[in-house]
């Protein structure tokens, strides 16, 4: 047991590090520098960086070279990610497009579509979003209501999507629609790719409880798309969507908030419980221990996954536990950090609060993180069903035509 690279891995890591040193700034050396706050500037920088990566074979490392990828292995992809994390580079805006949308286009699109879209997406020239969730859907993605109706060689789309990340700057999207409401819900869906700049597409930002607005509602009013924009057969939309969702990377679950046990130790040294330093309070110490053990457990679970990848194996389902643990820990640790500040814990001001306000921000943010990308409850269901083999919930709507299934308001 060791944390060392194999010789091949070490060589690859060295090569990556040299390239990064040449082309980017290490965070450690980037004092005072930061990524642009202006969205347009950030997009421009992101596109430039993505193109550079593509030229060097570091964009979509595991994809074949003929599609603009790197022709590499999964573990090389992980190594690149580990190394890049040490540099101040823009990232993220291509994650959904390259992680979910383009793989779907590659699996289900026509040859023309693949030729047209894959390479520009890999280079970052075009950005994609995923349009599945709807107000009425939530955890029940397939319960969507956006209608697509055939009209000659075109489809006419009306409806609304929600929680679309990046819709306000994306060029294209993949859109899941209902084309037949008279069959059970999973059977009446069809997938299309669409042009997000079409005037029939309206994007409205969603303001979150935290004050941020990274997500959007997207409205379609008589949006007309060609039948050739279809991905998969009519009625096969759910099968197509599963391709997309399977590609939803295990990467989620990383975020545990900004403040962790090290910060908590520092805070506890500074504040008091019953007049004594909080760090001497056994209950504070137990929480530090428990959260440390959780964080270590998640870290080493990831290492077990990486080991499997490194050996060329498919990782087990261990990683599914990550977000269940991380989201609640983020909320509880944030909340407790506020408690330690006592009455002062109500203050929400980065300049006044310890750890740059991290406790408060993660307490607020976690309320959303426990829901986004699968609620705590859905994730437990997934572990129970896919890992432990327990039965699915009773599905009363399984065999009912969609338009006869109970839906509430």
């Amino acid at each position: 047991m060791d944390f060392n690279d194999t010789p091949e891995e070490a060589a690859y890591r060295k090569q990556v590090r040299e390239w990064l040193d040449k082309n980017a700034t290490r965070k450690a050396d980037a004092k005072g520098m930061e990524l642009p706050r202006d969205l347009n500037e950030l997009i421009a920088q992101s596109k430039a960086w993505q193109a550079k990566k593509a030229d060097a074979g570091y964009a979509c490392i595991t994809w074949p070279k003929e599609w603009g990828g790197g022709g590499g292995t999964t573990i090389q992809n992980v190594i690149y990610g580990q190394e890049e994390a040490n540099y101040l580079v823009p990232g993220g805006i291509f994650a959904i497009g390259l992680g979910m949308c383009i793989p779907t286009v590659m699996a289900w699109g026509s040859e023309e579509a693949k030729k047209r879209f894959v390479a520009p997406a890999v280079r970052g020239d075009e950005i994609w979003c995923q349009l599945f969730s709807e107000p009425a859907g939530g955890s029940d993605v397939a319960g969507l209501r956006t209608r697509a109706e055939k009209d000659g060689d075109e489809w006419v789309i009306n409806g609304q999507k929600v929680w679309t990340s990046g819709a306000h700057f994306c060029d294209y999207g993949i859109l899941l629609t209902r084309t037949d409401p008279n069959v059970p819900k999973h059977k009446g869906l069809t997938m299309f790719w669409i042009d997000m700049k079409d005037p029939a597409v309206e994007v409205r930002p969603i303001k979150q409880m935290s004050g941020g607005a990274e997500f959007n509602e997207v409205f379609f009013t008589n949006l007309r798309v060609k039948d050739s924009q279809r991905l998969g057969n009519p009625g096969d939309g759910w099968k197509v969507a599963l391709t997309t969702l399977m590609n939803e990377r295990l990467a989620v679950g990383g975020s545990q908030g900004n403040a962790d046990t090290d910060d908590l130790i520092e805070l506890a040294r500074d504040v008091t419980v019953a007049g004594e330093p909080a760090i001497r309070h056994g209950g504070v110490r137990e929480r530090i221990a428990d959260w440390y053990v959780q964080a270590q457990g998640l870290k080493f679970t990831k290492f077990r996954t990486l080991t499997a990848l490194s050996k060329g194996e498919t990782p087990g389902p261990e990683s599914s536990i990550s977000k269940i643990v991380a989201a609640k820990k983020m909320q509880d640790l944030g909340s407790f950090g506020m408690d330690l500040q006592d009455m002062g814990g109500v203050i929400r001001d980065r300049k006044l609060s310890p750890a740059d306000g991290a406790y408060t921000e993660q307490w607020i943010g976690a309320a959303g993180y426990r829901i986004a990308g699968g609620t705590d409850e859905i994730l437990r269901n997934i572990v129970a069903e896919r890992v432990l083999g327990l039965p699915g919930d009773v599905r009363v709507d399984k065999d009912l035509p969609f338009n006869q299934a109970p839906k509430g308001k």
């Binding site: 409880m209 008091t272 019953a274 919930d393 599905r395």
Partner: protein, 375 residues
Amino acid sequence: MNFDFSDDQKMLKEQVRKFLADKCPMTVTRRVLEKEEAYAEEVWKGLVEMGLTGTAIPEEFGGLGLGALELCVIAEELGRSAAPVPFSSSIYLAAEAIKLFGTQKQKEAWLPKLASGEIVGTVAVSEGLHAAHPRNIEAKFAGGKVSGVKQPVADGAAASVAIVAVNTGGSGEQAISLAIVDLKAGGVSSEPVRTIDPSRQHVTLTLKDAPAEILGDKQGEGWSQLSRIMDGGAVLFSFEQVGGTEAALEMARDYALERYAFGRQIGSYQAIKHKLADMYVKKELAKSNAYYGAMMLNDEGSELTEAAAASRIAGSDAYVFAAQENIQTHGGIGYTWESDCQFHYRRAKLLALTIGAPIQWKEKLVSRLEAKNAA
């Protein structure tokens, strides 16, 4: 056995509830929060017109001369509607402090104005992120003047008078006194401080040689006075927490009945059912503890401190949990700015911190239990 409120008290509760349901729906809380108003003036006026500010103030000082039980039922309704008014600062804390410990002259000077709602009062203890403790109070009182910085102070901008914890020299608890500061008399500046719940305004209060006098006759009694004031506050806030918990639970239940997933109400899934059952259990434990707290407060009973601490611990636990899991029950929509879920999430945590975090109250409680156990 008569462990319940009287019919008159229940009628009062019903009146307050109706008034607030009518005049203080969540749209008002949203308005105050979004526009950063100091408080909802029209709601405050209505409460004043109903005479509620004078509830527990003796008749000789312009109040109604009722007791703590009446304040408790009002608190529960203020909590239910997450009302954006300075009632708690002015009445549970400032007026009670002067009533309990003020000289006759101090009572005459301040209580009638507080009772009539003509002015707002508050209490200023905290100096940043250190929990209230004799060691953590640096504001100085000498020669009839107070200097120091209090942060955060609830309703500090709206208030005309503040009970301020100050250091008057000496060691340990004996160093602490409470001063009455006329905030309109000069030497006072206040600057808004952003909090997790902008529907309740907070400020940083900077005092520079602000004219002040000691509450009551003697210096050095501030810590035990403060402890008693906070015990009363804990009970009253626990009723706000019970009311808030009920409101959050109702929101969650209504949504669970109305929202469908996979062809059935989400309230038919055990994950949701048991979550809501847990909210209910915590709410009932909080309510029962709050009732005992109310009785001890009303009777100035020997177990007031234990009962107050238990009320505060159970109330904080119930409301924070219910507010949090109400969002979780709502899913994504619950996390949006448009949703009213946020008001309970914010208020629940504010109430759990505002007169000291539960971890501090647990220490207070166990110290009492230890003493009793040893006896």
